[in-house]
Symmetry: C2
Subunit: 185 residues, 2 copies
């Protein structure tokens, strides 16, 4: 819950490189962090619902502590640069929408010039934001594991399927039964 804001270099070290997409995500994450009064999620108290799978979501994970492994990072892949950040403690949510590219892109710049400009542009020229009410996604569950009777590997009990009286993990179930589980997960 430190108030120190990580510089973009720290996020690019996590992401692997720096690019305009990561920079836009970084600016969105800083906006969300200010709205959260600089509270980075230690556990699941902050939730992020991101509507794309592009570079910027790594900045959201890194800055807000809403990470894939913590059950508070949800990807609804609509291919939209939209980030909804919710605070379970207050029940409030902020929707951050990147304005269409035509509103902030500039022709003839180098990649480095674009990154620098995106870092310094006023947030209101890049994003539309509004507070809104959302239904919070359920919290992550920790359940017991069951050993698959085919491969011998363990799987969370809710992911076990039954076939001919045996408890199977999903890959073994699909392989042995010929059934796909995509509608059952």
């Amino acid at each position: 819950m430190s108030k120190k804001i990580p510089p973009i270099e720290e996020i690019s070290k996590f992401h692997g490189h720096i690019c305009p997409g990561l920079t836009l995500g970084y600016r969105a994450a800083l906006l969300a962090l200010a709205w959260l009064e600089h509270h980075r999620s230690e556990d699941e108290e902050v939730v992020a619902i991101v509507e794309n799978r592009a570079c910027g979501i790594d900045a959201i994970q890194y800055i807000l502590g809403t990470t894939a492994g913590k059950g508070n990072f949800f990807i609804e892949d609509y291919g939209k640069h939209v980030y909804t950040i919710a605070n379970r403690n207050t029940g409030k949510a902020l929707r951050i929408v990147v304005k269409p590219k035509g509103r902030w892109a500039k022709e003839g710049e180098t990649r480095e010039e674009t990154i620098q400009r995106l870092l310094s542009m006023p947030a209101e020229d890049l994003f539309d934001t509004r507070e809104e009410a959302i239904d919070l996604p359920p919290k992550a569950q920790v359940l017991q594991s069951v050993v698959c009777e085919s491969c011998g590997e363990a799987a969370m009990e809710t992911k076990i399927r039954l076939y001919q009286g045996r408890k199977l993990c999903i890959p073994c179930f699909e392989h042995e039964s010929g059934n796909s589980t995509c509608l059952l997960r």
Copy 2:
């Protein structure tokens, strides 16, 4: 591509806290890093396919540079502590399976004692590993954006749907047409 191995404290700062699940993921990630000859993914050259949504996958993201935002991190949620790491440059893949809990858990320990033990146990007591051939997932695509004719927000063109002659983003399409797109994504 630094050979410096991040300490668990650095990963727990990213994750938000330290726990046995993160520690197991950290040990798996270090095993994969050694197999990759200490190459952390700058772009998409390393791929991770993780079979759960639990804490350990944050260590995989952080250590290997296979992150949700870079298109080289795939969650196949079978509820299994299994991590498959592939190297696009060599075409090889390593499957790392956490042994069933009964093989490495110990009753009556404090959380801190468990973490310390997991950090120091021999890798072969925690994991089964094997090199295997896999079909590599496709690389991420960067496509143009189209502005939704209902909400005015931009979406990647492959995510646009048509309804009554208008180009709509998925949430507007679902709202206006009453059709779910879950089988169309």
